[in-house]
Each structure stands twice: as C-alpha cells, then as structure tokens.
Amino acid sequence: MIKLKQLESLLQDVDVFEKPKIQFEQYPTSAHIASRMLYTAQSMYDDIEDKIVADLGCGCGVLSIGANQLGALYNFAFDIDDDALAICRENMEGFEIENMDLIKVDVETLSLRDKVDTVFMNPPFGTKTHKGIDMVFLKKAIDISTRAVYSLHKTSTREHIFKKAKEWGVSCEVVAELRYDIPAMYKFHKKKSVDIQVDFLRFAHPDDQE
C-alpha cells in the first residue's frame, strides 16, 4: 500500500473546477482531506482494496481517483454536472485509470441493480440553496452500499445525523474533526476564506463481517 504522503502528493495533481457552480455547491475536496479519508478507510477498515466503490457527487473525481490508487476493484463516479464530469474524465485519463466509469445522474433518483461495497463522498452541505440535500445524499449512499459510507458533514449537524443513522440501522462514528477551509470562490463570500467545522464520518452496515 502506498504511503499517505505519496497519496496526498498524487492527488495534488488532480485538476479542480474551472468555474465552480453555486447551485451544486461545488467546493473541491482538498488533496489533504481526500488522502486522509481514503487512507483511513483502507488502512483501518480495509474498505477499498478489491472493493466496488462509488462516489456520489464526484465533482472532479479526487475521491474516486484516490480510491483507485489504493486498489479499488472498480469505481463508479456519479455527478449531475457535465462540466465536472468532463474534468473528472480528463483526470481519469491523466492517471490512466481503466477500472472506473462516470455516470450523469441526479443522486436523489439514482438506483442501481446491485449494491456497491463502499461509498465515498463530499456531499453538498445544503446550506445555501438546497436545504437537506446532505441528508438526501447520505440516505442514498447508505441505500446503495453493503459495507461502509465515508462522508463529510458540518459538525453542527452531528446530533441530527446520529439520530438518522440509528433510524436507518447503521452505526456512525466520528473518525476525525476537520477544519474545512472554503476559499472565497463565490461572490457572496465576504471574507477571503472561511473555516468551518466538519466531521469526517464513517457509517457501517451491521452485517459487515469485519
């Protein structure tokens, strides 16, 4: 398995949004955060190697590409936005990835024939335009997986998420608390960048045999 530092440095070569779109809350997942999410998932829980991995709202694909580098069997990357998918595709080609496909879909209506093992995502936080979209992504991720879901959520929603996880029959663990630095990409941002408190969460299905 490659080292964390190597993974992070590889992921720094993943191109990000040229013109981020506010309606989709396109904040890139930094190589720093992505590499730590993925590395933890593989080294502590064995949730990537030889697993089928999905990425909901893949954006430019940093989580999918990282999962591929850590030995995922196959990656499905889903996004609603053509421009994000086009960048993701270029990234995929840049990394010469053969075992990955992109799918244009509204995550809310997505349904798959068979379930995947693990889902990685950095869902929209749902703060500006689309309240509750974070929970829509989370419910979908749990529905389409058999093993685990790794996701980022605002720390302020933690209690609510724990309650929902219980309702949905999955365990939920705070793997790390992060400060997510959102650069001032949009006009409504008055400050240069804003740090928000974010939880890196792992949800596990109970029939997980690990």
């Binding site: 499905f76 075992n99 244009k104 879909v105 024939r113």
Partner: protein, 121 residues
C-alpha cells in the same frame, strides 16, 4: 462507459419496476481499448455482475456468444474473452432504452445520462 457499468444501471423512472433491466443498447458506437489482462480482476468482477444480462447484451451487440449460465470453471480462453468484454469495449455514444417503459437514456462522450424529467421522478 464499459459493459460493467451497463450491468449496474437500471431504469429508475418512478413506477417502472418491470423489465427495467438490462437497458437495451441502441445505435451505439464502440471504441476498442487496450487494457492490461488481470485474471483475478475478471474473476472478482464476475462475482458481482449479472451474467445473464451480460450474455444477453454481448450477444445482441454481436460481441460474443457467452453460455447462458456462468461456467463453473473459467478457462484461459474464456477469461481472455471476458477481459475484452469487460475492459476493452468502451461505449462512447448511443442510447439505452428501458424495455419496460421505453425511457431513453442517452450516452454521450462515454457518459450515460440517467437524468429524468420532472414528471418521471
């Protein structure tokens, strides 16, 4: 898009739950890729795929004539053929049509578009 992905996608129009898989591929263009052969990959992947749908799809595309049921033992020749089917056939454009409700999912630049109109959600 590879046939692996086609094998995972089903129609998700609201209320469509009969004959919604596999989606029928029509007017497709295929690009042949060259991928590194890895027998373990093929075997692991086959455990996750719907063989019947794969056999039906590859037959209708004229790519291969696979047995109706997945053979218990896969010989080298079969593995090579499956390697080609799963990793080297890239569908770059065309459409997928639901046999249940006739919804058309276009494929462009190798990406299937699974978006629905508002009335179908």
């Amino acid at each position: 898009m590879r046939l692996i992905t086609h094998n995972m996608l089903q129609c998700h129009v609201k209320g469509c739950n009969k004959d919604n898989f596999p989606l029928k591929l029509e007017e497709i263009e295929i690009e042949e890729l060259e991928a590194e052969f890895n027998a373990d990959f093929i075997k692991s992947m086959l455990n996750r795929l719907d063989w019947k749908a794969l056999a039906q799809t590859t037959f209708s595309l004229g790519i291969a004539q696979l047995p109706e049921e997945m053979p218990e033992e896969l010989n080298d020749e079969m593995l090579q053929q499956l390697h080609h089917i799963l990793l080297e056939v890239d569908i770059t454009s065309g459409r997928m049509v639901c046999q249940g409700c006739n919804h058309v999912y276009p494929i462009r630049d190798g990406i299937p578009n699974m978006l629905l109109t508002e009335s179908e959600v």
